[in-house]
Symmetry: C2
């Protein structure tokens, strides 16, 4: 359709490659138009963060993995953008931490749900929850489609990993006394502030890093994992990420 591709000399080649994954997800029916725009919002924060996993993010990743390994019933929530960007990483992490995978969409259609389930199964997921075939439950106090969750998944989970979440649902899940782990690029978002542990990083880098980290932490005793969780301060961690963004802006100004 397009007469040309991005010139190879383009200074944002890596970021444009991620975009391509998302645009493919759009063509496959997993991603909605609004998801493309939301991705762009994240791109700006990633650009300001320097498009790499920071030491600060790495500290949050360790706490997140510890929390997931300590959980009785962890669930990974997957939306269209997550499916398009990192289905394979979601499945790998789910095996390592023994978590369920559940599809949860803001703009729900059956077609999207099926497309995402198909992609996750292609990448090795044995079971995908939240596909409305089983019983479904409601998150109290939420208006959006994301309130509808699987009775045996997010509804019953004690710990939920929500990569790319909206603020309303994060707050509602915390109110249900769940531990919530968010992956978000905006350290100022309601999601980031409300979550138990927030990883300020691009999902495309954070999830594979979490898999490596989970493999190592699995060998450790529960006490050590608990210590890591207790020593983690989400507010302080978010402040550090914000400081990195500020410094990045200064560097780019010159």
């Amino acid at each position: 359709m397009h007469r040309t591709n991005i010139p190879s000399s383009h200074p944002r080649a890596k970021s444009l490659y991620i975009r391509e994954l998302l645009v493919n997800g759009f063509k496959n029916g997993m991603v909605v138009q609004e998801g493309l725009i939301a991705h762009g919002r994240g791109e700006t924060f990633d650009y300001l963060l320097g498009e790499g996993t920071t030491e600060t993010a790495y500290t949050a990743i360790k706490a997140a993995c510890s929390l997931l390994l300590l959980a009785d019933h962890p669930v990974i929530s997957v939306n269209g953008n997550v499916a398009a960007l990192c289905s394979k990483d979601v499945v790998e992490l789910s095996h390592l931490i023994d978590a369920d995978i559940e599809v949860n969409l803001f703009y729900w259609t059956e077609e999207r749900e099926i497309a995402i389930e198909k992609e996750l199964k292609k990448m090795g997921a044995k079971k995908v929850l939240g596909t409305r075939s089983g019983g479904s439950a409601r998150i109290p106090g939420l208006q959006s489609e994301r309130r509808i969750v699987d009775q045996d998944g997010i509804y019953k989970a004690d710990t939920v990993l929500v990569p790319l979440e909206d603020g309303d649902r994060t707050e509602a899940l915390v109110k249900m006394n769940k531990k919530v782990i968010a992956i978000d690029l905006n350290p100022l978002s309601r999601t980031s502030k409300a979550a138990t542990v927030t990883v300020i990083d691009n999902v495309i880098r954070a999830l594979p890093t979490m898999a490596i980290e989970a493999k190592q932490l699995k060998q450790k005793k529960g006490q050590i994992l608990k210590k890591i969780v207790n020593e983690f301060d989400n507010t302080k961690n978010l402040s550090e990420s914000l400081e990195i963004i500020r410094c990045g802006m200064n560097a780019r100004q010159r």
Copy 2:
């Protein structure tokens, strides 16, 4: 298609309304997927700026309008996102400053060009340049599709208004000794740094404000306009916008 719309309680209703304009532009064939993502990038900066036209932006708008009114041959360059968000404002401003309108696309297809031309004419544009029916010229040193410009439009213009531009082309236009006025939400972008005057504002607010300002400045003498242009310092103005973003981050952190 979607089972629900955004809940009315959503804290980002205004931003979501702008998104809707863009998504409509996508459905009408004017906007590409990459344009949706690019819009999201801007959304983040707008969010950090407080989603309002700042005093700093207003200073740049006055300089931009003065420059356009002093020009012998001003041209407004229109891409898909600009057409979707503010075709009417582009046409109104073009009448006030006696400028040509030219379509210029990074992801060029004939269908997009036709859809955008149609929209601009619907909004009252008498003539739309850059539609390949006339002679076309090349901007030296550019690889992308945006190098192809109208012989009688951007190629010959002394002043070009580029709302939502890419850095490569801004730099190339400046090298051709043209005055370039950019509207951009990122004060750190190559476009912002390279342009003669950069308005750090959302096009959806900046263009109508420019029309109001142009109406008033049209009454003034050339000397006064020249004074406004001479007193404007783009680097200083960008620093001020960046400072507003920094303060906004501090306020949102609390």
